[in-house]
């Protein structure tokens, strides 16, 4: 045994070194693949969201430019009818009010798909308008404030707007909150969006691991699309705070 020992322990030491080299090689390979997968994932995400936004814009334009004028034309033609008896006039009035309702609803849908105010007046006005609408139509009180913002590209504006809308919708649907405050400002070379609600909160790790929370997935994907970072601070019974940091 002792005569063989030196060669035996050299062999075992070499075996240990080989194990180490394999671990290092394995780690290096993982790093390389992670970078490659990350790049592919970001490309895929960008393609998906860009396609979605293009489709939304097209649908909003179709509604606004094609269906809208047709309905307005029908309304005008109905207005030009005369010499009707009382019964026909009642039916005509009903159809008339239905068409007005339809036009308003179409305008809402078109606006949801691609808000005109976002394109014409910018992000702050668009979020302000969305907050006002929620304040009038639901039990949630949304407070929006913003600091001085730099000029933003259209994809950044659209994605940030969608993020804010998603947070508002999630808060109404799930949070049982009375107040939601949204603050958007520039901090150094980042655009920082912070939202805080006083709702029931949730365990985001649990809901993510159980595959729930599509709203959170949307927030996450849009933040990723902008190369940003999303932080969620929420516990059951303690409200929810989102912080989104977008590099500019």
């Amino acid at each position: 045994m002792h005569a063989l020992s030196p060669s035996l322990f050299v062999a075992i030491l070499i075996a240990c070194l080989i194990v180490l080299v394999l671990i290092v090689f394995f780690t290096a390979t993982m790093i390389r693949y992670q970078r490659r997968n990350l790049a592919l994932y970001k490309e895929k995400l960008a393609a998906e969201i860009t396609t979605l936004e293009k489709e939304r814009t097209r649908m909003a334009e179709d509604l606004h430019d094609e269906l809208g004028p047709v309905l307005v034309g029908v309304k005008l033609k109905l207005n030009s009818l005369d010499g009707l008896n009382k019964e026909d006039q009642t039916i005509l009035d009903n159809v008339h009010s239905d068409i007005i309702g339809l036009l308003n609803r179409m305008q809402d849908i078109s606006n949801d798909l691609m808000p005109v105010v976002l394109i014409k007046k910018g992000l702050v006005k668009a979020i302000d308008q969305a907050a006002d609408k929620i304040n009038h139509n639901s039990g949630l009180h949304v407070m929006f404030s913003s600091g001085k913002l730099p000029e933003l590209s259209q994809p950044v504006m659209i994605n940030l707007y969608r993020i804010c809308r998603e947070i508002m919708t999630n808060t109404i649907k799930h949070a049982e909150a009375k107040e939601l405050s949204i603050h958007l400002q520039r901090i150094e070379n980042k655009l920082v969006l912070v939202t805080v609600d006083d709702g029931k909160g949730f365990d985001h790790r649990k809901s993510s691991s159980q595959g729930r929370g599509h709203g959170l997935v949307n927030l996450h994907n849009r933040t990723e699309m902008l190369d940003g970072e999303l932080y969620v601070d929420s516990k059951p019974g303690k409200g929810t705070k989102y912080r989104i940091e977008i590099p500019i």
Partner: protein
């Protein structure tokens, strides 16, 4: 008392421990178990240093450290989401460690010699949990992996505890009675300890104050 280069290597955990003290309030609370491990390791190294130079054995501090370390590392893995899908596994693992440690202490004179069996068991489980966490980290981490504290910690654990498992097996067989071989293995352990302690120091430096919300891709 002499302070050899090997002592210096053992005390390299002090770098991570000191950075942990300085950055403590700026580190996400989920990483705290790891900071506690660094401090416990530094305290144990210090106690053992004095015990050795007074001519005493170091079995007791190392024995206590091994159970503290295993519990803290398991807690760390829970904080970092290893048990998110199977939360019911956490408590049994803690109980299992405690029972294994007590069994070695009571029935195998664990405080009068190296706790080889317990170290072997804990190291093996830590390697498995590190691989699980590395897999998760790879799918959720968006930044450069070498800046990720989770990746660095898991790589450190993977390197160190794999060697501990191999050395533990040799130890169980008494190194075939070959003292030179034993020294060689211990030498590897010392250098590996130095390398992973430096990795841990970088990991503590990279620990963020908030954990970014990230989903697998």
């Amino acid at each position: 008392m002499r302070f050899t280069v090997y002592d210096l290597y053992s005390f390299s955990i002090a770098i991570a421990a000191i950075i942990a003290i300085v950055r403590y309030k700026r580190i996400y609370p989920g990483f705290r178990p790891f900071l506690f491990v660094c401090w416990a390791a530094l305290a144990t190294e210090t106690i053992c240093y004095f015990l050795i130079y007074q001519g005493n054995y170091t079995f007791i501090p190392y024995g206590i450290y091994s159970i503290v370390e295993s519990l803290l590392i398991t807690w760390l893995f829970r904080e970092l989401g290893v048990f998110d899908r199977r939360p019911y596994l956490f408590a049994p693992l803690i109980v299992f460690y405690l029972l294994a440690w007590l069994t070695e202490v009571i029935f195998f004179e664990g405080m009068n010699r190296n706790m080889t069996w317990f170290r072997l068991l804990h190291s093996f489980i830590t390697v498995l949990l590190s691989i699980l966490l590395l897999g998760k980290e790879l799918s959720v981490q968006r930044t450069f992996l070498l800046k990720s504290p989770v990746f660095l910690i898991c790589t450190g654990y993977l390197l160190y505890y794999t060697i501990v498992v191999i050395a533990g097996v040799f130890d169980l067989y008494g190194y075939g009675g070959n003292i030179a071989f034993r020294r060689q293995v211990q030498g590897i352990m010392i250098y590996m300890n130095l390398i992973v302690n430096l990795i841990y120091a970088v990991a503590v430096l990279c620990m963020p104050s908030r954990l970014r919300y990230s989903l697998p891709y």
